[in-house]
């Protein structure tokens, strides 16, 4: 009886460890898939890199250098072993270590994502709460139409419109977001402002609508009526009584959108010439720079898994039944 009792005491801890295990396993499966997908690409990489004029001897030598003459499993283990010790290999394009290439770009991407998220999440949740409070009102309808319009336009369109007005016409903000080498924070913030706002406009609708739907759903609960019968104001009912019980779906959507902000913003990066991870990946695919592509794909996968894991844990941790078992 003692084992189940102990298990009942720490369901949260058990759950987190379980989810972490699943996350690690998923990452492993994905690493296999990435590796297989890349090795199934048509054509011989050595041949491609060296060009048509290369002699068979040089191609064979290059293949040996890349390890392409080894069996698939061996190459996979070699790669994964390297990744686990922090060595992602060397770029085929310029011979620099992949880890070094990635580090700078990843920093930029995370900065932009954080910038956009810090604006978008409070705005979206706030708008969602307000439209739940005043549901059916003009505010509700306008907020809905505005955010839906923003999500319906392609992001490059929004980007160019913003650039045209705020940068070209008014001259308030720079249209090229590349911050250059080691800029100060203030400069980074102003240079990345336009891409960040573009991203905010794209992700707000989804989070806002989920916030509104989740809160409205809870507003029908008897404990909400009870709170009103205690004389609680409507705003307090929404924020203090409904929101804590509606957090799980909201947290999930927020996590998904942040993951997208990190992994899915190639177009915005290209439009604003922002040196992020997405651009690096696209360039590497064009150049057949396989080690970089693999590393990017793995990082994107890890971001998705980690953020979803975090959302799951937060969603379950906001459930008092699990946090405070009987």
């Amino acid at each position: 009886m003692s084992a189940p009792a102990a298990r009942r005491q720490r369901p949260i801890l058990r759950m987190i460890v379980g989810r972490l295990g699943i996350g690690v396993f998923t990452l492993f499966v994905i690493s296999v898939l990435i590796f297989l997908a890349v090795s199934l690409l048509p054509g011989d990489i050595a041949q491609q890199v060296l060009g048509q004029s290369a002699t068979p001897e040089t191609v064979a030598a290059f293949r040996r250098e890349l390890g392409l003459d080894q069996p698939l499993i061996w190459r996979y283990l070699d790669w994964v072993g390297g990744v686990l010790s922090g060595d992602f290999g060397r770029s085929l394009a310029n011979g620099r270590p992949v880890a070094e290439l990635l580090a700078a770009r990843l920093g930029n991407t995370l900065f932009l994502a954080a910038y956009a998220a810090v604006i978008a999440v409070p705005v979206a949740v706030g708008l969602g709460l307000l439209s739940a409070l005043w549901r059916g009102s003009w505010f509700d309808r306008i907020a809905n139409v505005a955010t839906l319009s923003a999500i319906s336009f392609p992001e490059f369109f929004i980007a160019y419109i913003l650039m045209f007005w705020l940068s070209v016409r008014m001259g308030w903000l720079p249209s090229i977001a590349d911050p250059g080498a080691s800029p100060r924070l203030g400069e980074m913030l102003s240079r990345a402002f336009l891409p960040a706002i573009t991203l905010v406009l794209v992700v707000t609708a989804h989070m806002m609508r989920m916030t509104r739907a989740a809160v409205v759903n809870v507003l029908g609960a008897p404990y909400v009526t009870m709170a009103r019968l205690k004389g609680v104001s409507r705003w307090r009912v929404v924020t203090r009584h409904a929101l804590p019980n509606a957090l799980a779906p909201i947290v999930n959507v927020v996590a998904l959108n942040i993951a997208w902000l990190i992994t899915g913003v190639v177009i915005v990066e290209v439009v604003f010439v922002y040196p992020g991870l997405g651009q690096l990946m696209v360039d590497s695919v064009t150049n057949r720079d396989i080690p970089v592509v693999q590393a990017c794909a793995l990082i994107f996968a890890a971001v998705y898994i980690l953020l979803n894991l975090l959302a799951d844990v937060l969603a379950i941790a906001t459930n008092p039944r699990l946090l405070h078992p009987r």
């Binding site: 009886m1 189940p4 029908g220 609960a221 008897p222 404990y223 009526t225 009870m226 709170a227 009103r228 019968l229 205690k230 004389g231 609680v232 104001s233 307090r236 009584h241 804590p244 019980n245 906001t318 008092p320 039944r321 405070h324 009987r326």
Partner: protein, 538 residues
């Protein structure tokens, strides 16, 4: 006069505009007085009770009249000023405390919220007051009780915590809206005693809403009977119980007297269902321990007990949804495979079930014809004309007009009609044995009586056997041939109804019977004096 509701009209939004649901009702409550409101569901009791807080539920609106609270007409005030009354001067106790406490807040925080927003007491003062009230309500460990979350507390305790919360701002009036309806009888009596003590010691006035006459007789000084949004009659409690004037009020009394005529059971060779030494449960927990009883062919066996006694788990074991750890189930003397998936179509057909909530047991997107045709086709292979004939027979059996009802959706039917469809669906399989799981608990007394009569008639016609799961002793008395009393997953007593109940043979049966409220207005007073009020459930 503390509360004076005059000619109150409330309307509901329907498909064709607004329809009235309260047709000009008066209600007066003096300081310190307890007024009982009684009637079937849909009578407008809760709407009237909530009006005392100047509140209407979603989809309703005030359409006339006045709600004078201490001289102020709440209906003339803007929402903001009405809020100052709610919780502070008039408080509300809901039917289901489990649903009405916010699951994300500790009980003490919910208690202190009222005094905080109304600025009637500091946090420390209201925490102290909470502990006093928890102690007065006989809640366990009153010092730390408030630190628990709602899910960590049993139903009866939660209901008492809600009464305590209603008193947090020392209101002049408390509206109790069916506060014990969802509780077991043995738990109910403790909550009733706690409410009465609280009302008496603080001198607060109260409106006590219920559909249970015996309960209101214990609590109220004066009773108002309502029906279809109108007052039927009003009188002081003893006068109302002793000499009701209106036919409708008398009919509320009469329901309790329905008794199926005594009859001789057919002496069959093997019982329809035989449960032998069954132990079953979920994960490591045993919910049933060593349960054995028989259900004779053509008989009705009532299984009584409180929630958690294992009644429904027994049903799950019989139907094969929960394979037992030990023991066996046999049908007509032949052992049934423990798992539903292993049973033959014939074995599945023989055992059918009727559920408590007809609302959720019927697919809302299927017409009655589709709902009833499915078992006819699946079990009996009936199609075309044969199926149509059988559909007509079934509808006649449950006393609903086939022409009117067959092509409707469940949502268009009343609660009692839906339950009749549930019965017809079980009968469609031509079963030998039906499990009735609390089939009348969600229904008003008059409607419930109709269902009980129907089930008795069907049994006389078809010879089907029933296992009748219920927590209501009156239902047991009305319909059962034999009784099984369960508690904590064990059978306490079983046998023919007179042997088990009259007089009660087992101590626990005696406690159950003694906890059922009686019409006598002094019943609760006597129970309390005898010390027969369980302070707390285990």
């Amino acid at each position: 006069m503390l509360l004076n509701i005059e000619n109150l009209k409330v309307e509901a939004r329907g498909e064709e505009g607004w329809t009235p649901i309260l047709h000009g009702v008066d209600l007066k409550v003096a300081r310190g007085e307890v007024v009982g409101l009684i009637g079937e569901s849909g009578a407008g009791k809760s709407t009237l009770g909530l009006a005392a807080l100047g509140f209407v539920q979603g989809g309703l609106r005030f359409a006339g009249g006045r709600v004078l609270f201490d001289g102020t007409d709440l209906l003339q005030l803007p929402e903001r000023q009405r809020r100052a009354f709610r919780g502070r001067r008039v408080a509300y106790v809901a039917q289901s405390a489990a649903a009405s406490f916010n699951p994300a807040w500790r009980l003490l925080d919910q208690f202190c919220e009222g005094p905080a927003i109304h600025h009637t007491a500091s946090r420390a003062e209201s925490e102290n007051f909470a502990r006093q009230l928890y102690a007065a309500m006989h809640l366990p460990d009153p010092e730390h009780f408030g630190l628990r979350f709602p899910h960590q507390v049993s139903g009866g305790q939660l209901q008492r915590a809600m009464v305590a919360m209603a008193m947090a701002c020392k209101p002049d009036l408390i509206v109790f809206d069916e506060p014990t309806t969802a509780l077991d009888v043995t738990t109910q009596i403790g909550v009733l005693a706690a409410i009465r003590e609280a009302v008496e010691t603080t001198g607060t006035a109260a409106i006590y809403i219920t559909h249970d006459l015996a309960v209101v007789a214990q609590m109220a000084d004066r009773i108002k009977v309502m029906r279809h949004g109108r007052e039927v009659e009003e009188a002081p409690t003893r006068q109302m119980i002793g000499a009701p004037k209106q036919d409708y009020t008398r009919s509320l009394w009469a329901v309790r007297e329905f008794r199926r005529p005594e009859r001789a059971l057919p002496q069959a060779s093997a019982p329809a269902i035989s449960i032998r030494e069954v132990t079953a449960g979920y994960s490591t927990l045993d919910v049933l321990s060593d349960v054995s009883f028989d259900i004779p062919r053509g008989a009705t066996v009532a299984v009584v007990g409180e929630s958690g006694s294992g009644k429904s788990t027994t049903a799950r074991v019989i139907t094969g949804l929960l394979p037992p750890r030990l023991g066996s189930i046999s049908l007509n003397g032949t052992a049934l495979p423990p798992r539903l998936a292993q049973r033959t179509l014939e074995q599945k057909r023989a055992v059918q079930m009727i559920y408590q909530m007809a609302d959720t047991a019927l697919n809302p997107r299927q017409t009655i014809r589709q709902i009833l045709s499915r078992p006819l086709q699946f079990y009996l292979g009936l199609t075309g004309k044969a199926r149509e004939t059988r559909l007509m027979e079934l509808m006649e059996q449950i006393e609903l007009d086939p022409a009117r009802f067959l092509d409707r959706l469940p949502g268009e039917l009343s609660g009692g009609q839906k339950q009749r469809i549930g019965i017809a669906r079980a009968l469609a399989a031509d079963p030998e044995f039906i499990i009735c799981d609390e089939v009348t608990s969600a229904l008003d007394q008059l409607v419930a009586e109709g269902i009980l009569r129907l089930l008795s008639k069907v049994q006389d016609e078809t010879g089907v056997s029933y296992m009748f799961i219920t927590h209501d002793i009156a239902t047991v008395r009305a319909i059962a041939d034999e009784v099984v009393v369960m508690k904590g997953g064990r059978v306490m007593d079983r046998g023919p109804k007179p042997d088990v109940l009259d007089p009660p043979r087992h101590d626990y049966t005696r406690e159950l019977l003694a906890s059922v409220p009686q019409m006598d207005p002094d019943w609760l007073t006597h129970r309390i004096a005898e010390g027969r009020v369980a302070g707390d459930e285990p």
